[in-house]
């Protein structure tokens, strides 16, 4: 189904949970709602499902206004963070429950669909167990199966993997991606992790403080964030932001250090800006980039294959990511190198004025 939200508002008392949300979700698309906690992701999902009525604006399904319609009449399935299953029913009965309520299918049909869905989610050996006898991952898979078996037009998932350990999350994410690929269901997946938005692909909708900041294909939003806030939300580790002043051919930081302009910054008039460069593009010592900033190491975090260096340049704390394992002493002087061609430039209000060219940005944005 094509789901449209027109100027949707959700206010409770003096709190604005959602402000002027305008979205169009194409049929069969996979949409990731990315935002920090309390950004309004759950509220938005509930409005899409019909569990809450927006205080302003309309919700349209395939062009029809369904704003007042109760969720039971809409064709929606939802998966929650907490593994929600009927505790007294077996896995088989849990998955079959939405089909039984519809009452339009024969027992043989129900059996067939339940078994097919269970097999898709690798639950076929567990059909007669109770949810209490299952592990966390298995319980969540049961909840997902129950949502999928309905073959609803709209499937909503509210941070479904957040209560599982990270390896299980990796595996389920991959499974989900393949599951969603083959269907005509419109899927909306809410998460706080930028990594998930990139892995799942599809279209990313960045939400913060109840407002949609940007919507587009995952890579387009990643490489071309329309504001500093979007860049911050869509980065892990946090993106490095520094105030700069463009004077002639150089960009100057407040403490006087300078680096040359990047290719994509050609057309910008001189003045105050905010420059952002991702940790992955900042190197420590080693190969010289065209921009160099002296810094003092505050901390070096070693994960097995890479090193994250937190270093301080004047008043800024910057994070650099390096391949391999490197030891640094606290207080050590290092030089941070980066390529100005990788820098995202925003004006003082936070809006994007220049972004490095990237194939993802040249393609038509969804």
């Amino acid at each position: 189904m094509q789901l449209t939200l027109e100027r949707v508002d959700l206010k409770v008392g003096v709190e604005t949970y959602l402000g002027e949300v305008d979205l169009v979700l194409e049929p069969g698309s996979l949409n990731v709602l990315l935002g920090p906690t309390l950004a309004g992701k759950t509220s938005l999902l509930r409005v899409m499902a019909g569990l809450d009525r927006p205080t302003g604006g309309r919700v349209l399904v395939d062009g029809r206004d369904v704003t007042g319609q109760s969720v039971r009449r809409r064709n929606v399935a939802m998966v929650y963070q907490q593994f929600v299953n009927y505790p007294s029913l077996t896995v088989y009965e849990n998955i079959a429950s939405p089909l039984r309520q519809a009452k339009r299918l024969s027992a043989a049909d129900i059996d067939r669909r339940v078994r097919a869905t269970a097999e898709m989610l690798r639950l076929d050996g567990l059909l007669d167990r109770l949810p209490a006898e299952l592990s966390g991952g298995q319980q969540q898979r049961t909840a997902i199966a129950r949502a999928l078996v309905k073959d609803a037009d709209l499937l909503l998932l509210d941070e479904p993997l957040v209560n599982l350990d990270y390896k299980l999350r990796e595996e389920l994410r991959e499974e989900l991606r393949q599951l969603f690929a083959g269907r005509r269901t419109t899927v909306v997946y809410a998460t706080t992790e930028p990594q998930e938005a990139l892995i799942l692909g599809g279209s990313t909708i960045v939400l913060d403080a109840g407002r949609v900041l940007q919507a587009g294909s995952a890579l387009a939003v990643y490489h071309g964030p329309c504001s500093v806030r979007v860049a911050e939300v869509f980065s892990d580790p946090p993106i490095n932001v520094m105030p700069i002043r463009i004077e002639g051919e150089l960009c100057r930081t407040p403490d006087g250090a300078a680096f040359p302009r990047g290719e994509h910054m050609r057309g910008l008039p001189g003045g105050e800006y905010r420059a952002a460069v991702r940790a992955e593009h900042v190197r420590v010592n080693g190969a010289a980039g065209r921009a160099a900033l002296g810094a003092i190491v505050e901390l070096a975090e070693l994960s097995g294959s890479e090193t994250f260096v937190h270093a301080r340049h004047a008043a800024l704390t910057l994070i650099a990511r390096q391949d391999g394992v490197h030891e640094y002493r606290l207080g050590e002087q290092v030089t941070l190198h980066f390529d100005p061609d990788r820098v995202l430039v925003f004006d003082t209000a936070g809006a994007l004025v220049a972004a490095p060219r990237h194939p993802a940005l040249e393609r038509r944005v969804a």
């Binding site: 920090p36 906690t37 592990s135 966390g136 991952g137 599982l164 350990d165 990270y166 390896k167 299980l168 990796e170 706080t192 992790e193 930028p194 990594q195 990139l198 892995i199 692909g201 995952a218 890579l219 990643y222 911050e232 892990d236 580790p237 946090p238 991702r278 992955e280 593009h281 505050e298 901390l299 975090e301 070693l302 994960s303 097995g304 294959s305 994250f308 937190h310 994070i319 394992v325 606290l330 993802a360």
Partner: protein
């Protein structure tokens, strides 16, 4: 400060265990040095929280002894063990201000008020909570509350070890970085023994000097992040550490290397020799980071089909197939991704051999 030691520590939750499989913690011996930062890493149900609760005294082990600095503390209750614990969700005293929360452990021990004030202010400064001291703890954000929980441990001068039970679970990804930085700085300046339980390998590897990987109640490997990454002692460690995990290919051992589905993969001769002596089912273990895809044919590099390509911002993951076996390869951002087929290159120094799931070389 404490050196923590276990001797033959084991625990079961069942009243009448019938065998080793009923034990949540199988018998284990460990020595953790004073002032080290340790991470207990493992999937849900591996026993890491059980172990943590035994160290803190909240759980009495069914068997074995626990020693702090050589002293047997197995029977001692929590309050006498000089440890502090930070839980998964922030535990604060709602009715008190931030100051009173931090002062609580000191006041319980009847520390004179001027000293309480000094200590609380010092710790609040360290945790960047100085501005919030007079506010009610209830209204703060999750990460500030976790800092308060941590602070309650830091105010006690006699604290030997601080235990963390998945403390960053409810924190937003960005703030996780800030809190981790804070924890590491505290560790470096105070030199306390820190024990951190998590199922997230990035957290474990970035936090700890030494990571203890657990699975099914056993310690599979205990080593530095680099050791775990480059030489996992056990197939499970290779799979669990690293995102994505290590690739495993069943193989046959030959004179000069291994053969996977007819494709020859080079191995150092001493590894082959060790493999022969060990015997069993052999597998090649190689990390996605240690593989390369080249567009041009290379010496002995097999041609593989690219089945899927995932874009992850600053790198890509290619899913390929060698014979019948799926593999994942990590490709840097700068490399132009190959279209449908490429040549798979191994790095002999980073290719490992496993026999029956255990590292041979």
């Amino acid at each position: 400060m404490a050196r923590i030691e276990f001797k033959q520590l084991a625990h079961t939750y069942r009243a009448d265990p019938r065998g080793l499989e009923d034990y949540a913690l199988k018998p284990m011996n460990q020595v953790w040095r004073d002032g080290g930062a340790y991470a207990l890493l493992g999937p849900s149900g591996c026993g890491k929280t059980t172990l943590l609760n035994i160290i803190s005294g909240l759980l009495q082990p069914t068997a074995g002894r626990v020693y702090f600095d050589g002293v047997d503390v197995t029977e001692r209750p929590t309050a006498q063990r000089n440890i502090a614990q930070v839980f998964q969700f922030p535990v604060i005293y709602d009715t008190m201000t931030v100051f009173d929360n931090l002062a609580f452990p000191l006041r319980n021990r009847r520390v004179p008020e001027p000293e309480v004030k000094r200590t609380v202010e010092r710790v609040a400064e360290m945790l960047e909570l100085g501005a919030e001291l007079r506010r009610r703890a209830r209204g703060l954000s999750a990460d500030a509350k976790q800092k308060i929980s941590l602070g309650r441990g830091l105010v006690r001068s006699d604290v030997a070890a601080i235990l963390f039970d998945e403390p960053l679970t409810v924190i937003d990804p960005h703030l996780k970085w800030t809190l981790r930085r804070k924890l590491k700085q505290i560790h470096q300046s105070l030199g306390l023994t820190l024990i951190y339980v998590t199922h997230d390998q990035t957290e474990a590897l970035t936090f700890a000097d030494e990571v203890v990987v657990m699975h099914d109640g056993r310690v599979l490997q205990s080593g530095t992040p680099q050791e775990l990454f480059e030489a996992p002692a056990h197939k499970f460690v290779g799979h669990f550490v690293g995102s994505p995990g290590m690739n495993f290919l069943p193989c046959v051992l030959e004179a000069d290397g291994a053969r996977v589905d007819g494709v020859r993969i080079a191995l150092p001769p001493d590894v082959v020799a060790k493999g022969r002596r060990a015997g069993g089912r052999f597998e090649i273990g190689v990390r996605p980071e240690a593989l390369r895809l080249e567009a041009e044919p290379r010496n002995g590099a097999p041609r593989v089909r690219i089945e899927a390509l995932a874009e992850l911002g600053h790198y890509r993951i290619a899913a390929v197939r060698l014979g019948t076996h799926p593999l994942k390869v990590k490709l840097p951002e700068e490399q132009e991704p190959p279209r449908d087929a490429a040549y798979l290159c191994f790095t002999p120094a980073l290719t490992r051999l496993y026999a029956d799931g255990v590292l041979v070389g």
